[in-house]
């Protein structure tokens, strides 16, 4: 995830883009495992897996930004997705791999129902309602019998084998030598997929329509854009991402509680997007890496960890109020 990759992607020439993509894939699938093998820091696997999954959630939040809405409710969908997966696995014996898309679809459907009324709201109103939504999700998980209330669902088995027509695509995780590496690979593959989808969306007609929505809703509505449908669609895709990320998390921790995704997580998703830069598809990915990984690295400062973390966040905001990737803007402006 180095800046060069993104610079190239942003500049947009086709070959550069393909090269950037290849470099990125090589980095995450080959270089990172090699680095971990060489240094023996296998705990990075879990951290980077988390980064990948959180980046998926953040991608959803970014997409809602793209239609001009600040979404502080992604934690709700991550929690929902997690519970859907956990319940299906433990109570219906469904394979984890099947629950992954199901969790996403469930979240997307719910988000349409919730989105129809609330997507009419704008600015801080939408932001605050989605913040409340996170609390609603947590409190619902506490109150419902099927989620087992505050005690959560624990001892969820590891993902089983995934095979198509008798060919094993993904082996049973419990038989693996190093399930953490496997989780990393799956999570990163999912992340790459999600960002490809996101990137496609942005560069199609849909993306242009979203951009017009972000700039001026009345105007887009007046030139015949079906703004309601467009907003719902973007929000549903966003929530799908959230659900998938949540479900994947559950399979790693093998447990889920109402406290697994809370308001703080929802806020963090937004922060990842801001920090990375809202103007770039890869902004949320970079933001997640910096904030989440950065936190872990700062743990050497012990009691000053939070002070340094928040202090540098504020400093970054003062230097680059439009996100880290806004550095690229300046370069282009200078030419």
């Amino acid at each position: 995830m180095n800046t060069n990759t993104e610079t190239m992607a942003a500049k947009g020439s086709v070959t550069a883009r393909i090269l950037g993509m290849a470099a990125f894939l090589a980095l995450v699938f080959v270089a990172v495992p090699m680095f971990i093998a060489a240094t023996g820091r296998s705990d990075f696997y879990y951290t980077l897996t988390s980064v990948a999954l959180l980046a998926i959630g953040a991608a959803g939040v970014w997409l809602t930004f793209y239609i001009g809405r600040i979404n502080i409710g992604q934690g709700a969908y991550a929690l929902m997705g997690g519970y859907v997966s956990a319940i299906l696995i433990t109570q219906a014996g469904v394979s984890f791999w099947l629950t992954l898309p199901l969790a996403g679809i469930f979240c997307a459907v719910i988000s349409v129902l919730i989105g129809l009324p609330i997507l009419r709201l704008r600015g801080v109103y939408f932001a605050m309602v989605t913040l409340v939504l996170t609390e609603v999700a947590r409190l619902t998980a506490l109150a419902l019998p099927i989620t087992n209330g505050a005690k959560g669902i624990t001892s969820i088995p590891l993902p089983g084998e995934l095979s198509v027509l008798g060919i094993t695509l993904i082996p049973d995780f419990s038989t693996l030598q190093n399930p953490r590496q496997a989780f990393y690979m799956v999570a990163v593959a999912l992340m790459v997929l999600v960002y490809l989808v996101l990137w496609r969306i942005v560069n199609t007609r849909l993306g242009h329509l979203c951009r017009s929505l972000q700039q001026n809703e009345e105007l887009s509505a007046s030139i015949g854009v079906n703004t309601t449908w467009l907003r719902i669609l973007a929000y549903a895709i966003s929530s799908f991402f959230g659900g998938v990320a949540g479900a994947m998390f559950v399979s790693i921790s093998q447990s889920i509680y109402p406290s697994s995704f809370v308001v703080q997580d929802s806020v963090n998703f937004v922060l990842y997007c801001f920090l990375g830069g809202l103007g770039y598809v890869f902004g949320p990915m970079l933001g997640t890496l910096l904030l989440y990984f950065g936190w872990d690295l700062l743990s050497v400062f012990k009691q000053y960890q939070l002070l340094i973390y928040s202090g540098s966040m504020i400093a970054l905001m003062l230097i680059l109020p439009n996100g880290i990737l806004s550095l690229l803007d300046k370069k282009e402006g200078g030419k």
Binding site: P117, V132, L306, S310, G311, I314
Partner: protein, 289 residues
Amino acid sequence: MEQILANGLYLGAQYALIALGLTLIFSLMNVLNFAHGQMYVFSGFVCYTVVVQLGLPFIVGLVVAAVVLAVMGGLIEKFLFRPVIRRSKRDESTMLLAAGIAFFLDALILLLFGEKQRGIPKVVNGVFNWDFRLIMPYDRILICVLAIAIIVSFILFMQYSKAGRAMRALAQDRMAAQLMGVDVDRYSMIGFAMGAMLAGLVGALLVSITGVNLGMGGPTSIKAFLMIMIGGAGVISGAIIGGFILGMMESVGLSVLSSYGDVTYLLIFASLMIFLAIRPQGLMGKPWG
């Protein structure tokens, strides 16, 4: 019934005071102050330090806390929000800044005051008891009266003083206020300082009853968001009404629904979402803030 209403009123008064500060900052600068709850906690600790560690009277603690928070608010506005607002492309960028400040205050509280629950001794002893129909400790009554007095003086200040008028004008039409010769920077700073001071006053008042601890900041902010959503963001009357409504709902819900487990807040949140879907600007707000 009397008891439930009295509890609601007591909660409502302190909530309204929290919401006032938040809504003031929002109306002047369009900043959703995520750090509001942390400011409240910080002030509680300041008051604790003055009263328990230095052994000074409660009223001194209250004043010191208010002053410290006002200064802190002013500095935060001048050195953090102002430059970021000036340079960022989107208003929302201030959210990241506010969240960063919230984390920073948390860290500061942890380092300065530790992670323990802290409280100061009761300001007055004794309990008002009306035939077991209405029981209210005197210190709660005192705090409630103080909170309402602060709310009233805040309203009077905003209504009748020149600075209050300038801030209202700034909130309603920034450009027109500028044309009247209102110094936007100066009054944004004053407004932010006052908002922080209000958060500080509540924190200092409540440290004598509920105490403070590090973890209270976030939930306090969320509750404050709720209140200004109910009443309408950026409107003073809305914040007060929102505060009292939430206080009442909480009091009634906890009493009536106690046999169904912990569903009060779920119901409050859910009904709020439905309410906002129907009336996005809240009870008193302007559409779209």
